[in-house]
Amino acid sequence: MEELPKPDEMYESIDHTPPEEEWEKIESPIKRGRYAYPAKDKNLAIMEFPTPGEWSPADEEWPLPDNWQQIIHEGFKERLEKYRSLKIFMDTCVRCGACADKCHYFIGTGDPKNMPVVRAELLRSIYRNDFTTAGKILGKIAGGRKLTKEVIKEWFAYFYQCSECRRCSVFCPYGIDTAEVTMMGRELLNLLGLNINWIMEPVANCFRTGNHLGIQPHAFKEMVEFFCDDIEEITGLKLNPSFNRKGAEILFITPSGDYFADPGTYTFMGYLMLFEALGLDYTLSTYASEGGNFGLFTSSDAMKKLNSKMYAEAKRLGVKWILGGECGHMWRVINQYMDTMNGPADFLEVPKSPITGTVFDNAKSTKMVHITEFTADLIRHNKLKLDPSRNDKFKVTYHDSCNPARAMGLLEEPRYVIKNVCNYFYEMPENTIREKTFCCGSGSGLNTEEVMDLRLRGGLPRANAVKHVHDKYGVNMLACICAIDRAAFPPLMEYWVPEVGTTGIHELVANALIMDGEKERTTDLRFESLKEEEDEADEG
């Protein structure tokens, strides 16, 4: 990877002045640091996508099949017939420009093709040329453009510079959702075997082993047992979670990022401790050991294939309902796709908290509840013994993950939980949170090293808002409910606001949670002293 510029240099270099040339005339869209490595054939083959062989986006000639134009044309036609959203979004844009400066990638790069309107025009121009009367007759005057190899390169470059965060769709007067446009663009590229490995490998892994990281069942169990050892050291309590246990009341599914790497692992420990404190009758599954779904970033069929495991496993194990962990895009899939794709889940029961008796009517069809809904309900009913002062060294702010915010509306539950387990909580500026939240810069499968330049730029709006509360209130901890956030924020914060750490909400919950029979805690889940002063005193 190339040397990154210093943060202030990168910041100073951002220029939103549009170039002289029209965007249609700007060629060579493939730039280092802005493209991810292509998908490997072995992964594409598992998902039954075309396999183009070894290639690099930096190559002059891309490995396109001879009839690539026909493939794209027919693929486009098929999708226009299948999705009203696509037709409407192709036809109704008036280029008012309301979306132009809403995209974090545009704000961070200044590249005009990262304006949502232009990103969509990349596809729209082909649509007009090939599928509309005006475009067929008037061509360029009607905004049409011929489908060339250069256009394919451009699609690859810019549909993989969109994190499908949907912020632009909040501001669009017609609700045009660039995520939908990007998803269609990526589906079309998939027809040619053009994908990125950072997405396709997790998809293939998840298909075969049950999770994105390809962690096999015994290894998954070992990792969880390792967390239990840590928990025992911290609390003195021995936990014994079950795996693939039939007859459990609840199946718990969370993204694999939560058991693979810090700081997600602390969140996973938090779940385990919460469930132990409640005496919850739950099980983990090795087959459905992934909450996330990189299929969402690939194609609707791939999404369906991966998602199908959740209901299949719930049915096989005979649980009553499913509880889902902290993850962003996972919840877009669960809230907006799962029931439609793989339902009806008529073999499950309407979720009911065994602790409070609360019936989750809002999930009466999918039968799946978000962990912050579950925990907020517990706290509301005083079912948890909490000592928020154990989190006193943290001055916390909260990042709304894109999908729970804009594809669900999960805004208050996490805040309620945080405010009950932490004494110091500060909101970021209004236009950067809730439905107007900014992406971490690494969503939709773009959290790979080789696009670090793009990630740091795309994450700038979020990081800058964190910096604001860091400077103003001394915020030193960024809480989130998304596994990609937990992987993306540490390097992002390290670059822009190095004094701020990253945490999941259930790590904070478990820090504050007083468990029956626990020993007096001296450290948090990270084996760090509960009070910051003591660390400093030790060092002093």
Partner: protein
């Protein structure tokens, strides 16, 4: 600087001159009867076609963009309009969107101020858009007086309100001035703001110039050149009653320019971005309730896909699972 607007301006001027010349050389019937009829026909066929084409495509997934708190636990206050779960909520959301441009009202502008990036609430676009659309709406309603006899009371009432400033004779209609003003402001925005200029194309400028042309010729006819309104009404009533005719002693050629511009605009709608007037009703991110987890949404083409079953999975890992004391189906 993107100066493509000049082509659109030129196109509109040339089209105006064609109509003017046509009327002068005696082609009134073409510009006063044939083209308006054709335009209306093209509009109806094109519009209905487009809407049917949209409606034909299914809505496979419920992809609401949620802009407020979801409905979950009963002690958490939901946003029943920005994140609706009921049909009533959706209808109110759509009404706010269509009548008040709710989403544009949220608009912000990004600014780098020293070390801080700020997102300032800006209402100019919303204001210009409201001004433009409502003026246009009032102007269209007012013009119905040319197509009905007797003139219904609501049109006269609207004219009274519209002319309440009582400036000049004939009295100034506010809507005419604000239509011209709104369209001009939207045009200036496209020409002067660098980002908006960069994304603007001929298809953005052309309808604006056309509408400005319509407003200008209308204003000229009413306040300055003062065409014979009785004759104009004779012509328009002829069109409306399907007994078309061109009045004796003619109407000013300017009128034919005005009518030609209107005809062009009407015929242009179905083939252009002006279809947003229909599309806004069908946008799936706005017109669907966020009740996905409560009520199953059906995808009519929900495909059968090959999945990797638990049995296949166990085949792959059975020995390792047994060794790790993970229960298996087949020993």
């Amino acid at each position: 600087m993107n100066v493509s607007y000049l082509y659109s301006l030129l196109a509109v001027i040339v089209l105006g001159l064609i109509a003017y010349a046509g009327a002068v050389v005696g082609l009134e019937a073409l510009f006063g009867i044939v083209i308006p009829y054709l335009a209306v026909l093209v509009f109806f066929v094109g519009f209905v076609n487009k809407v049917l084409d949209w409606a034909k495509a299914p809505v496979p997934f419920r992809i609401t963009t949620t802009c407020g708190q979801q409905k979950t636990l009963d002690w958490i206050k939901p946003s029943p309009i920005d994140n609706p779960t009921t049909t009533v909520g959706v209808i109110i959301r759509m009404l706010l969107e269509i009548l008040l441009f709710r989403s544009l009202f949220r608009n912000t502008r990004v600014e780098f101020k020293g070390e801080k990036i700020s997102y300032k609430w800006v209402l100019w676009l919303w204001l210009f858009a409201i001004m433009f659309h409502y003026s246009f709406f009032v102007v269209v309603i007012r013009h119905l007086r040319f197509f009905v006899e007797p003139v219904p009371f609501f049109i006269s009432a609207l004219e009274t309100v519209d002319g309440m400033l009582q400036i000049g004779l004939p009295g100034l209609f506010i809507s005419g001035a604000t239509l011209l003003g709104g369209a001009t402001l939207l045009l200036l925005r496209r020409i002067l703001l660098p980002k908006i200029n960069y994304i603007s194309r001929a298809a953005d400028y052309f309808p604006l110039f056309l509408i400005i042309g319509i407003a200008l010729t209308g204003i000229l006819m009413r306040y300055f050149i003062k065409v014979d309104v009785v004759k104009v009404k004779e012509l328009t009533m002829g069109l409306a009653s399907f007994h078309p005719g061109i009045p004796e002693d003619g109407v000013s050629a300017l009128f034919y320019v005005h009518l030609f511009f209107v005809s062009l605009l009407v015929a242009y709608i179905p083939f252009s971005k002006l279809m947003h007037m229909g599309g806004i009703f069908l946008s799936p991110t706005r017109n669907l309730a966020n009740n996905n987890r409560m009520k199953r949404h059906i995808n009519p083409w929900n495909p059968k896909v090959k999945i990797h079953t638990y049995e296949e999975y166990e085949e792959d890992f059975r020995e390792k699972m047994k060794e790790a004391d993970i229960p298996v189906e087949k020993e």
